[in-house]
Symmetry: C3
Subunit: 152 residues, 3 copies
């Protein structure tokens, strides 16, 4: 399986790597694990999907936002690895959804990210463990933030 | 030590494994680590302890809720491992508590989960690292959500 | 590089280890990874920087709070390891910032912690992956809580 062919089939392009939004490494390796720093729905580091689910943003916009997080994570991983085909599997996804009071469909939002990873790597390799959490505020008023752990 | 004897002594029964609430694996293994997806106080996937600590739910109800999370995690681990005696130790517990404004007793709530793990595996093996965090909203209006990392 | 010389240069003293605030291990080791339990801006276990960023606390107070979290983490690590020079690198930092409605400068707050780790261990070793998240409430009304993962 060539992940770049998959991206082409899905008509997806790896975006430019997001500039650092603070003092951290985009990707940190320990053994065969790669910890990816929290990713947002940004373009060139600027949040483009902002505001809370349940009031300012629809479920569909939330799903688009988490897909952008995944694409930014892949961009950071490509810079680090040189080639995304080195990724063996998705280990874990920790997703935070900026949630208005009474919004409880965080898993449905985060499914947008999980489905994309499964579309790219298949169920066996693309589907890791996951937690979906609601929070009141995220950096830059982003609608979602995702932390990814992958295995090479 | 036989974990099933311990469960019997404590009059605890492993519940039916919670059905997936999204696109993820209940348990994902890397090396000797098992990442367990976020668990809630659910029965057959339906949240049964909902609402915020500090307004809608008491500390005791919160502690019961986190115990349910642990039992659901054990159910998922049993499906994955076949036998819970394969678990060597609890590495880490990340707990999110749906908190009304001004509620700050998250650690006391989460102690319900930690005590159960210690009752089952003892201090040496059952007590891992831990963080307890308050959040404004959780999936399905659950009162708590717990993410577990164990070592086999 | 001697981390204790660095601490002296920066006029920093490792505080007394924070007493446990619940049923958990301050540090849990698996292989060469050390998971450090959630740390707050406490002295002898008592929160000293409390209240939300964006209303009750300034950015500078938040940065001081996260530095205290790091120092408490180092204290727990020193108890566990005997000598902080055994730490090879900072793998990951997960930071939660108690945030008033509309506060979105979590990364700027958390930079206080990240900068301290870089001052101590340098960019190569002291800069790990990171996520900065806003939440509505934290234990004991602490302004921040930080979870650290280090490699020995």
């Amino acid at each position: 399986m060539d992940i770049y062919k998959k991206l082409e089939e899905l008509k997806l392009e790896i975006p430019a790597p997001p500039p650092r939004g603070g003092i951290y490494q985009p990707v940190k390796q320990v053994g065969n694990l790669l910890y990816v720093s929290g990713q947002g729905p940004t373009v060139d580091g600027v949040p483009v999907i902002t505001g809370k689910l349940g009031s300012e943003r629809s479920l569909e916009e939330g799903q688009e936002a988490v897909r952008m997080c995944v694409m930014n994570a892949l961009s950071s991983l490509e810079v680090y690895l040189g080639n995304l085909n080195k990724i063996k599997s998705v280990v874990k996804l920790l997703a935070f959804v900026a949630s208005a009071s009474g919004f409880n469909a965080q898993p449905q939002v985060v499914n947008g990210a999980s489905q994309l990873l499964v579309d790219l790597w298949g169920e066996e390799q693309g589907m890791g463990a996951r937690s979906a959490i609601g929070v009141n505020e995220l950096p830059g008023n982003m609608s979602v933030e995702i932390e990814l752990l992958v295995e090479i």
